[in-house]
C-alpha cells in the first residue's frame, strides 16, 4: 500500500468507528458535545501515532510471548503522558474527558492497529496508518458529536442553533440516543461504500483473533474464507 492509500484507508474505507466498530465505548460516552468528540479524537490520535511508531520501531526486539504486555505498557505510558500534558496545558478539555482519557488505553483501536499493522510494517508506514486512523476516528467522533449536540442541546460547539422556544431531545445526550445516531451513521457509510464497490465488511481488522490467525490480511478479504 502506498502512502496515500494507507492514510486514506483509515479515514474512509476502514474508518475505525463506522466500519471497524472499534472504540465504541469512548465514542458513545464522549460525543454528547461536538468539542469533546473533537478533543477525544485528537488525544486518541496522538496516542495512536506514538504507539504505532514505537511498536513498529521495536517490532524485531519484542519476543512473541510477551508482545501483548509490552504493547500495553507502551500504550498506557503514552496515554498517561497525554493526560499529564492535557492537565497542564488544556485543563478544560482534561476535565471534559474525565475518566475516558484513561480509558484510551483499552480503546481496541490502539491495540488493534499495533497488532494488525504496526507490528508488520515499517515505522513510516505505521506513522501514516496512525495518522489516518486517528483522523478517521476524530472525524467520526466530531460528526456524531455535532449531531448529538444539535439534537440533544440545540447547540453546536456551544453556538445556539435551535431557537430557544424549541425544546431539544435530551435522549440524544444519553446512551440510547448515542447508539441510535451511531447506527444511522454506520448505515450511511455502508451505503456509500457499497455504491463505490467496496466490500461491506472488512472483517479481519476488527476480529479478536487477528493476532493469531495465519490468514489475517488487509482490507478486502473475503468473509467466506475466514476460518473462524
Amino acid at each position: 500500500m502506498n502512502a496515500k492509500n494507507i492514510l486514506l484507508n483509515g479515514i474512509v474505507k476502514e474508518n475505525p468507528v463506522l466500519v471497524l466498530a472499534l472504540g465504541t465505548c469512548a465514542t458513545i460516552a464522549v460525543t454528547t458535545q461536538a468539542v469533546n468528540g473533537l478533543g477525544m479524537g485528537l488525544a486518541t490520535m496522538a496516542v495512536l501515532i506514538c504507539s504505532n511508531v514505537v511498536v513498529a520501531a521495536l517490532k524485531d526486539l519484542i519476543p512473541d510471548e510477551v508482545h501483548i504486555p509490552c504493547y500495553i505498557v507502551i500504550i498506557a505510558g503514552f496515554v498517561t503522558i497525554v493526560g499529564f500534558l492535557l492537565e497542564a496545558f488544556a485543563p478544560g478539555l482534561y476535565d471534559a474527558l474525565g475518566v475516558f482519557l484513561a480509558l484510551i488505553v483499552v480503546n481496541c483501536l490502539i491495540l488493534g492497529r499495533a497488532e494488525m499493522f504496526a507490528a508488520k510494517h515499517k515505522v513510516g508506514e505505521a506513522f501514516l496508518d496512525g495518522l489516518g486512523m486517528g483522523l478517521g476516528f476524530t472525524l467520526a467522533l466530531t460528526a456524531i458529536g455535532i449531531i448529538r449536540e444539535l439534537l440533544g442541546s440545540g447547540t453546536v460547539f456551544g453556538w445556539q442553533l435551535l431557537p430557544q422556544a424549541v425544546s431539544p431531545m435530551s435522549i440524544f445526550l444519553l446512551g440510547p440516543g448515542g447508539f441510535f445516531v451511531f447506527g444511522c451513521m454506520i448505515a450511511l457509510v455502508n451505503r456509500i461504500n457499497v455504491k463505490r464497490g467496496l466490500p461491506l465488511r472488512n472483517a479481519c481488522a476488527s476480529c479478536p483473533k487477528v493476532g493469531f490467525c495465519g490468514n489475517a490480511g488487509e482490507a478486502g478479504r473475503e468473509v467466506e474464507s475466514c476460518p473462524k
Binding site: T32, L58, L61, I62, P63, E65, V66, P69, C70, V73, I74, A76, G77, T80, I81, F84, L85, E87, A88, F89, P91, G152, S153, P168, S170, L173, L174
Partner: protein, 182 residues
C-alpha cells in the same frame, strides 16, 4: 535445544522489564516537567471560581475551616483590607455521585453566589442544576430561603445534593461566627 529454550525464556521477561523501565523513566520525566503547570492550572481555576462566587473581593486567603462534616475548605474574601465575605467549598451526594459546591457568603450569612465545580449528574437533567441561570436564583438567599428554593424538575436527587451542600456551608458559617473566625 535446552540452551535455546533457556535463551528464549530469559529474553522475553528481560525485554518486558526493559520496556517497563524506559516507560517509567519517561513518565517520571513528564510528570516532573508538567507538575508546576498542573498546579498552576488548578490554582487558576480555583481562584476564578472564588472570584465568581464573591464578585466584590479582590483577593482571597485561606482560613481555618471549622470542623463541619463535608466541608473542604474556607477562604476569606478581602475587598482592600476589610473582609467582605467568606467562600466555602463543600461536598455532598448527588444522583450520580459526589458533587462539589463552592459558595460565597457575605457578612450577614447570605449567599453572594454559588457554583458547582464537580459533579456526575445526568446530562440534560441533573446538569441543569449547574447552570448559571438556575444558580443565579440563589443570590441573596439566607439559610431558610435557600432550603425552600425550587429544585430542578426531574432532578430531585441532584437538587437535594445541592441544598445539602449549601446547608453544610451555612452550618460552617454559623460555626465560624461562633468561634469568632469572621
Amino acid at each position: 535445544m535446552t540452551e535455546n529454550k533457556t535463551k528464549m525464556s530469559l529474553r522475553a521477561p528481560l525485554v518486558l522489564l526493559l520496556i517497563c523501565l524506559c516507560v517509567t523513566l519517561l513518565l517520571a520525566l513528564t510528570h516532573n516537567l508538567t507538575a508546576p503547570f498542573i498546579a498552576e492550572a488548578r490554582e487558576r481555576t480555583a481562584v476564578e471560581t472564588r472570584a465568581g462566587v464573591c464578585p466584590e473581593a479582590d483577593r482571597f486567603a485561606e482560613a481555618k475551616a471549622p470542623a463541619v462534616e463535608g466541608l473542604d475548605s474556607v477562604y476569606l474574601a478581602y475587598a482592600g483590607d476589610a473582609v467582605c465575605g467568606t467562600v466555602f467549598t463543600a461536598r455532598s451526594q448527588g444522583f450520580g455521585g459526589e458533587m462539589t459546591v463552592v459558595c460565597g457568603l457575605d457578612e450577614e450569612g447570605r449567599l453572594t453566589g454559588c457554583r458547582i465545580t464537580r459533579h456526575s449528574e445526568t446530562p440534560g437533567l441533573g446538569t441543569k442544576v449547574a447552570d448559571d441561570a438556575y444558580l443565579a436564583g440563589y443570590a441573596g438567599a439566607g439559610r431558610d430561603e435557600a432550603a425552600a428554593m425550587d429544585g430542578v424538575t426531574g432532578a430531585t436527587f441532584t437538587s437535594k445534593g445541592l441544598k445539602e451542600a449549601l446547608a453544610i456551608c451555612f452550618n460552617a458559617w454559623d460555626a465560624g461566627r461562633k468561634e469568632g473566625l469572621w
